[in-house]
Symmetry: C3
Subunit: 208 residues, 3 copies
């Protein structure tokens, strides 16, 4: 599907830039920000492919993806100081990427005949593992486990997509509907600071 593929290429570019920016903050050199950008952009799909045993892994079958992520990281290294004007653009592209990664991840698992619950989970893993690996390489507790409805958006998008397909909706319509609804959910979650319940000191008092 061409639209999904276009969104994917835009998304990995944006994710690579976000990874590169975090690498710069950690004092990484040019190689470091290229690696961190690529891991952020391609780590979710890589984790999914390895867990599913889906070989060859995406960027190994399509090395041109690396051109996008490495190019984006290098450009970011030189223009990062001007990028704060674009924060809103980033947030939107990142949201678009999250739902596109999720739908693509579901497609891969479905093509392997996985159980529906694994299909949804493959979508969630594709959506969130890039950011998770980025944070681990920077030795931060992964943001996706702490804040905002990021993983929840991926879960919602995957569940909706699988449900629509099971209801007999065509593949193109289902992915467009899932992309649109998931993206809207993400925008609303950011705009209104929606969060999942997390836990207070009183919840864990007495545990050692």
């Amino acid at each position: 599907m061409t639209l999904l593929h276009t969104i994917y290429l835009i998304a990995i570019t944006a994710e690579a830039m976000s990874g590169a920016i975090m690498g710069m903050r950690k004092g990484m050199d040019l190689f470091g920000i290229c690696l961190l950008g690529s891991v952020t952009a391609l780590g979710g799909g890589t984790a999914r492919d390895i867990l599913l045993g889906h070989y060859p892994v995406g960027w190994i079958a399509n090395p041109e993806y690396l051109t996008f992520t490495i190019g984006a990281a290098i450009v970011t290294g030189f223009i990062a100081r001007h990028l704060h004007h674009l924060r809103m653009v980033f947030l939107l592209v990142d949201g678009l990427g999250l739902v596109a990664f999720t739908v693509i991840g579901c497609d891969v698992a479905m093509s392997m005949g996985s159980h529906p619950s694994i299909v949804v989970l493959a979508g969630v893993i594709t959506g969130i593992f890039g950011g998770l690996l980025r944070d681990m390489l920077c030795t931060q507790v992964p943001m996706v486990l702490q804040r905002e409805l990021y993983a929840t958006v991926a879960l919602f998008t995957g569940l909706l997509y699988v449900a629509l397909l099971h209801a007999g909706i065509g593949s193109n319509s289902a992915s467009l509907l899932a992309l649109g609804s998931g993206f809207l959910f993400r925008v609303l979650a950011v705009a209104f600071h929606w969060r999942l319940p997390s836990f207070q000191d009183k919840d864990i008092r007495g545990l050692d």
Copy 2:
């Protein structure tokens, strides 16, 4: 073997609860504690399967395992403050899980015709990698590399199991003997604070 499978399900539930509790301490949200609980419970088997190329990975072939781990994490989120009464139960179930994971890991590697040393190592990896990944996601130096005879218990259990099988003992008897001895070793190690030698400042003075 039904007994081993029952112990396995109890063990992944207990491990998921321990992961969830650590996630709560790190301020994770509900999604975070479900993921951390699942990684703690299933990460060892997943690492083993990926390293051995043993596909499909356990929880992908048996998605119902995720019901146990996610369910256990959610329940933990709401009752954690009452769990400190159960610390001793946890410690015992965790010890049982460690030896059960180890024996199961050995079985998987044996079914692939691996070298005996790899069979033992597959057991150890199954036993300890869940906790190791949990600690890495929480950006802590993995406890298993620092404290107590945790990995050593897995190594002992795996070595004993493989030795018993090579001595011609039947599979059921060998796993029961290995489970029992490994569990006893773990209980004694905890009760008497047994430790492996670690290293003091004087050992590394002068290294930069």
Copy 3:
């Protein structure tokens, strides 16, 4: 190729010792330093094999590699305080290991018919991922992403090796030339403190 294999065995021994030393600094016990040493020495090849789907993974096919890494880690535990006399030897062996790992990694990817860019990347991953995993297990931002021309040496070695082969140079000559040039590059980079550009506060001001 016997020379390359000999260099490989020396290199995994040296890398295991460097991992063990870092484990001792983190207060790990004997098991911890064996695991950290083995991950440092064999983690690069393992990451490459898993990413390429190249099974069985190196040390599973050749468990005797573990004898080298575990043996080296244990010996290090007892003689570490005397090793600071050998710092220069370490640095040289580590450099030799880096280029040997890289050439071996390229060979593995080529044997699978990978795209030339993936061949080079497989070399780089083999060269640097051991140290990267070691640092992540110790919860440090990986040194290889921050300092010195370490990854760059791997990239240079891999590019040169692939270019020489494409130019029709025989396999043995190409690997010797790549090993020699890469090693010289590494020695010069360390001697003259060459670095890649990294980024200053002014480059990332205004980013949140």
